[in-house]
Symmetry: C2
Amino acid sequence: MNEKKEVGITAKKSSNFVDWYSEVVIKSGLAEYGPVHGTIVFSPNSYAMWEEVQKAFDKMIKETGHKNAYFPLLIPESLLNKEAEHFKSFVPEVFWVTHEGEKELTDKYAIRPTSETIIYYFFSKWLRSWRDLPILVNQWCSVLRAEIKDTKPFIRNSEFLWQEGHTAHETEAEADKEVMLILDFYRKIAEEYLAIPVIAGKKSELEKFGGAYYTTTIESIMPDGKAIQMGTSHNLGQNFSKPFGVKYLGRDNLEHSAWTTSWGISTRLLGALVMTHGDDSGLIMPPKVAGTQIVIIPIIKKESLNEVTQFAKELRGKLSQKFRVELDLRDDVTPGYKFNDWEMKGVPLRIEVGPKDIKNGVVVLVRRDTKEKKEVKHADLEEEASKLLEAIQATLFLRAKESLKSLITEAKTYKELQEVIKSKGGFVKINWCLGDACELKIKEDTNATSRVIPFAEKRHGKCIVCGKDTEAVAYFAKSY
Amino acid sequence: MNEKKEVGITAKKSSNFVDWYSEVVIKSGLAEYGPVHGTIVFSPNSYAMWEEVQKAFDKMIKETGHKNAYFPLLIPESLLNKEAEHFKSFVPEVFWVTHEGEKELTDKYAIRPTSETIIYYFFSKWLRSWRDLPILVNQWCSVLRAEIKDTKPFIRNSEFLWQEGHTAHETEAEADKEVMLILDFYRKIAEEYLAIPVIAGKKSELEKFGGAYYTTTIESIMPDGKAIQMGTSHNLGQNFSKPFGVKYLGRDNLEHSAWTTSWGISTRLLGALVMTHGDDSGLIMPPKVAGTQIVIIPIIKKESLNEVTQFAKELRGKLSQKFRVELDLRDDVTPGYKFNDWEMKGVPLRIEVGPKDIKNGVVVLVRRDTKEKKEVKHADLEEEASKLLEAIQATLFLRAKESLKSLITEAKTYKELQEVIKSKGGFVKINWCLGDACELKIKEDTNATSRVIPFAEKRHGKCIVCGKDTEAVAYFAKSY
């Protein structure tokens, strides 16, 4: 048997988080850099998780009346330019198409950095009367934003995959309701599928989406103490509908501009998943989104090759009815090598089966999260596997919740805030007047920005920067 | 009740096919032109059909070991340029990115017109040993090819949606097998889902994919007598693996270049669907891919409003367990308007229900294809709806088969070929030596090209152009 060199992950998560992350992403086969700066391939291992996210979210939005569509990738500059704030915030990162074959274009085209402008171009044609409202569409696509500085697979790429929902409504109240409906779907995706706990709330004026009336967000914190934005849902007010002519004849027979919303989650979620759950052995995939939930590794000796292979194949057939299963029949590496390899790839549950196990009517189950082993009778296997996968999902979420909790620190004074950001990192919870000036001061002094003004928390106090009376609580942090 | 003007389709399919097609596409809400020449929005009505195609094909390829992934949209010119034939055939239609924000690029980027080159960039990194083979990946994405001349929604666009599969194999025989496996999946999608009969075979040397060893295709003919390519599956030989370094250490411990294949179907299929099945009332969607399979139209009079609405909602709830259902509760148009509207949109089955029907325990079912009406008891509704949808699917396929048959003409002489192409159009079946010169002569004289050299037909005869002895039969036609 041709034993390969044990590669595995060499950096430690606790002491060298940056290198650890890159190693896990590359070695577990999630992504690799492309030839254009900041682009990556989403390999089958990461794309399969994205497909599970798609399935789950697609179901939620379809059940609530949203429909998928696909809008053009190319947006003429003149169209992108119609909402000034929006244009300003995206134009430094736009990839510009200037030539079609040999022909030079007069109005150059932007590759979509987001699709509000091109979608409102169509909404303005579709919308006539209040009876046409609401319009509820979504698209799954890639968007491009040139990352000139640091890039990081999944977290910061020049091209990433996402969904972008775009809706138009009669009233502000209906747009508000839509924004919150979707934000709650995002919370479900993060917490119940990716096992990543989040804090839901509003963005500050400085941190809201370019052109938005307001932005809501779900935020989490990574083990290195940096915050990550997991999904945003914007009420765009009438800021876009007015310049783009998204208007309708109302119940009052007068012309009105629609209230619009937009919202998105992206493959950035996969980066947060790697950071949150991985360990020094590699990736750990939450069972609900794992492309492979169970890997079967036969312990084969020469004299039992046929018997064990046959048994393992039957096992795969049976388990595949209910789970996403791989069977590793490679004959050029040892079972030990395979154990490490699949641990690195983060498959939540491993089944080991050898000739003795077959004789005894058992298999061995090994959890990826705790590495606990358990002998299980053949008859109980399916039920036990189901239970263990649920337990792994729950354990990962609990662990992440503990971590999140440990990375929230209250600061009563400005000095305290500065110290926490500098030493421990994580979310610093403060009373804040919500003013731009105070946020800018914090940013200048500490590099931290307001990440989220949580819906669930209010507390009378004084802004720790300017001392003004306030009810507002906010979480500040350095962020990805 | 505010009766709207009856719009409907004004052009006739039989006498003005070109205008009829455009009207159906726009008025049934399938697509609309975007601001960039040749781009369209794939509206919810057409995108829903594409999603059904995706579901069906995705299942087929996953069951045979293929995995989805996503590769970068941007391809540096230097990479696209590595296979000369390939580059030459795509470069006139490439959209070029020359600027990233303000920065001018030194090596400009092509927006993918197809992804062989960027995918082989990654394959060359992934592939080490024969044990890594086969590599079987697929991606769902959009590709861009600038259409400078005529554009036609779905049929000829500057951006369209497709899947592109890319595989690498040890041997020519395995690549051959893959090509034929996929081509047969494509035949199934066309015939069993879209209800469009096709002829499967090879492409001529002049018509094969740029850089391919050989190309296989499924072809159909539209009611106006023009052929349409429905899907292609290419054996690329070692033509790409050599310049891109897609090589591996073989079982013999020597280095080999892999055999690669690529294959694609696109949203062009939706154009063929419209052309094949539509009639003077509008679109007809085959039930298997219809976004909406059944529409319920309550016949409401003021005094029965609550009762009928309630019944219709319950009906929707029940039928939605099994079918894709819409309930039309608009109160500003008459039932008659709704009938026409949903006929135009091509929903295969309509359910009418009024107060009298409720009392009698029946509903009325109306088939979109034949417009036949049938009264059905409430208890039999689900079974009857299933049967009718199957019958509609079968009828559409049979009709299309008849049409295809009527548009195949044999030509024994060159003069006959010229006459048929000029008068009737459609496929002209001839004996042909397979030589480039004869194909070029036909093209120059008639504008027709070889569409397919069918696998299933061979016949000893003489090439009708040059008179050489040949076994080969080919179908020539003008094409989209």
